[in-house]
Subunit: 637 residues, 2 copies
Amino acid sequence: MSNIYLSNYELNDALNIYFSNFDFKEKLEREEILTCESCGRVTSKAVYAKISYPFYNSSAMDGIAVKSEKTIGATEKNMIELYENEDYIVVDTGDPIPKGFDSVIMVEDIIKVKEGCVKIYKSVLPYENIRPIGEDIVQNTLILPSNHKIRAVDIGALLCGGVNSIKVYKKPKVGIIPTGTEIVEPALDLKVGDIIESNSRVFSALINEWGGEALRYDIVKDDYEKIKAAIIKAVDENDIVLINAGSSAGREDFTYSIINELGKVFIHGIAIKPGKPVILGKIKDKPVIGIPGYPVSAYIIMENIVKPLLEKYQGLLHDEGDIKEAVLSRRIVSSLKHLEFVRVKLGFVADKLIATPLNRGAGATMSLVNADGILKIPQNCEGLEAGSKVKVNLLKKTNEIKNTIVVIGSHDPIVDVVSDLLKKSDGGYSLSSSHVGSMGGILSLKKQECHIAPIHLLDMESGEYNIPYINKYLKGMDIALIKGVKRIQGFMVKKGNPYNIKDLRDVAELKLRYINRQKGSGTRLLLDYNLKKLGIDFSMISGYEREEFTHLGVAASIKEDDADCGMGVYSAAKLMDLDFIPVCSEEYDFAVPESYLEMPMIKKFIEVIKSEEFFKELDRLGGYDYLECGKIVKVRG
Amino acid sequence: MSNIYLSNYELNDALNIYFSNFDFKEKLEREEILTCESCGRVTSKAVYAKISYPFYNSSAMDGIAVKSEKTIGATEKNMIELYENEDYIVVDTGDPIPKGFDSVIMVEDIIKVKEGCVKIYKSVLPYENIRPIGEDIVQNTLILPSNHKIRAVDIGALLCGGVNSIKVYKKPKVGIIPTGTEIVEPALDLKVGDIIESNSRVFSALINEWGGEALRYDIVKDDYEKIKAAIIKAVDENDIVLINAGSSAGREDFTYSIINELGKVFIHGIAIKPGKPVILGKIKDKPVIGIPGYPVSAYIIMENIVKPLLEKYQGLLHDEGDIKEAVLSRRIVSSLKHLEFVRVKLGFVADKLIATPLNRGAGATMSLVNADGILKIPQNCEGLEAGSKVKVNLLKKTNEIKNTIVVIGSHDPIVDVVSDLLKKSDGGYSLSSSHVGSMGGILSLKKQECHIAPIHLLDMESGEYNIPYINKYLKGMDIALIKGVKRIQGFMVKKGNPYNIKDLRDVAELKLRYINRQKGSGTRLLLDYNLKKLGIDFSMISGYEREEFTHLGVAASIKEDDADCGMGVYSAAKLMDLDFIPVCSEEYDFAVPESYLEMPMIKKFIEVIKSEEFFKELDRLGGYDYLECGKIVKVRG
């Protein structure tokens, strides 16, 4: 149970130290393959043209090949007659120039006299309108240098230069060993305590993308001898070996000790977050790397250590990916102890690329799916202020980010439906949503972090939804409300309602396990309103402090018997097969700056939520009234 | 022999008209595949999580799971004793929380009393240090929408969300039919008139890169019925068919007529250059496209028509690639009649990204290899001035361009050798060279288009090489001369010197076919100097006007019996197995702005040309004296 991380090397130092232990130039084997199958492979030696291309003089025009000396003196007033075969031969573009002829007259410059005889009114110089030998490629010139990743267009030049087979590096073989007693294959039935093995599949896809050849081994239980045997086998069969231990001390000790027993560990612990507990070792002169188990840590190690390693192996320049400058929407605090990788959402809002940090927890595979980029905070930096300009490594294409509607605010299962329908629409737009509650959405609109904020905020005095909040919190902004749905809120309980809950009094009296939504969410405000109405103090609700961020999150906890009751929308209860006690109907709308209504992607958004296909999905989910869906209400003019 | 191009549609109009004839949403078949093999495929429907992940409450820390109510009131002064199994259970990060326990105390906050008994000095709240059910993924939430290209990280989230197989589109099958009587497979022995078939191999690689599945058919001779049969078969076996006709009228007539016989041609001719004579048709509701034969035209059609078509097919947003702003180094004139695609070289020179147009001829496969980007000149634009800011579609990665030494000037075979050795070096630097002659190199330095200009310019008055020219033409610039090689110039003649040439007098008297170098090249100046010395007028030299751009180009023409004599360096003659009559020794050096000497890639350049490996290559090539190679001479201080 003790912390065994020994070192805190800076990332670049660690890479330099580690890589200096290998002679990459000598490591990789070579093979000769067909040029037409070489796309994506890396040349292992310089490729020179074997022939010139074209390898004969050919016509650059449709016309006639002539002897240039016979054309001297031709003018409009003094036309010269030429006879076929003797004075000229008809040629098409690309045809070889027959022996004895040395230039070409374009078809447009010829007057036909009769069969086998033409007149010309222009002289030509020797080699005029001829594509000379080697115009494209000259024999013995360099087509590709060593260490060049072959592209589609390279194949064309290689074939024209007479290079029909080519020497390339063999793909570096990378063995991946997933370890852990609690780790199971995705296909098996799951029981409590099981952890699905997914990292090795992500690793394999990345390695193949980076030019390697991934070989994944079966899961090995936490047993020193078994792991050792697996490593010995993998080292024999591969150029590089990755061991995906968890980050608990026990298991890591195994990896560390085994590598040290069979070879040498150079570095154990790098000053990065996430990803610190990495092990960089060598067995039989081959790189062997212990990678932490958390998916995000593992991904950071893959990108920042395994990718450069594969590049070194193939003699490729480091591909730093696509880096764009963005404006940070929120303050980030970071430690001076490490280089931190922060996943961010990106959006083109009000003509600026805005970066909003995502959850920094290391365990979230969904955060890697949702992230649009990675922001690096250097080791000697305490953090970054909101509004500062930052460089972000993109995880998606710029054009994809430009065509993404950034939605921040209240959660409802219908947002996922809109996201899918948008993506299926002609425009191919994406929707990226963050669930921070209605008030969070309002603030995001104010800070210009998002295009659309879904909200459901009841003004208790007027009984009116949403508009009073916009008036109060978004003063001076021209906001439009795209009407959404009326939806039914209520209490979700297990199927059959075993505690026979009718309202919050039962929850308080029976001391049932309640699960709440986060502060600032409309649903939490609704709970507080109902508690107040019934005169129940929040301390009477056991679990009032437990916060979930989505309706489905609350529903999942009840379904898994981790809570007895929570508030949410009808559709969430239905999706999770729970019972539902209705409390009220509320208005879930989309607030948007009025000027954005003209953006093609916002127009498409409105089109989608007014479509029959969308209504059909709402009916399937249940509990929605879409009578006003897509109607525009301008909040100020 | 008549021009049959009928239409001149704008590119975007053509795409809109053409694509409107297909219902892409209905076209593509779907299949279910294993999630772990789905990287790069495109989802055909929305993917929702089948399970929550984690699907049980688990510990977020190494420590002990406790009942939170038993910890109430614990302080440093009032520690509470807990007993194993009854009050606590030891848990590692990720372990499930045992029934009856509801929070975790970190190992750091525990004091061990004895086996099975600990003291705590802090209370914990319910669910503190617990990773709740669905923290990462909640059941029934959207993991991926439809029409999403699956990435490595997506696979991790899918597997954790219980999605072990996934519905994707089948890859669109693209049949490629190469046609032409003169077209031959690369593997066969070549005879005059043969054209190597390389386009279909480039197409295949591009199609696979864009998510399609290429099926290449055998070459079909120019025969209406044979081409028709091939098209019928390909339409049956594929989703899309590409016919790679040449652009001569005869062959194109076939493609056009056959498509019109079997289906319908919508567009024949688009206002783009190169690539105008494209045919967009439909047979049996499938896209069938006739693509011009010139490699560059064909590539432009692939990028601008076939790629968007494949994207439409897969429901993907158009990937416009990486676009960067650059400064144009030279004026470009363009026609108002068409959108023109100009291949450019890019270089980071003096902190600016400089774009220099490449040869605009359509036939050059090497120009596609050498190009770093493509610049579009709109249809309504007459051209662009030097110095204007332009947007360039990159064909290489930014980082690769940043690490490329731009070399413009005189040609020598050793430049290829340096290029390869640089690429093999630790830095992984590239060298991109354009051969415009020594004077062209001097002007490029002046315009800051290049880093290095190789020159060999003899000042006839002083007998000194290079420095007088720098003094004269680069006034006010601090230039350093990186000394290169002394090399032997002379006349190249066919093996055995059949005309027994001794000097230029023989060339003039025997009226032999001479092949010259371009104006501004040092070798041409050397010829003129020698002609003058011998009192021979240039008009006496037959072929004086024939210009080649490289020593190897001249040598290739002599070897192929297309010329009898030309001037060049010894190594070129040796590479082409020609005889050589030495004329003089000259100094071939590298001019570079003095400030660039500190750039890491220029340092590496100097390191390379001082290396034993380089000298060995020079010895192999022959005719070089490298005694001073790599020495720095500052021309002004």
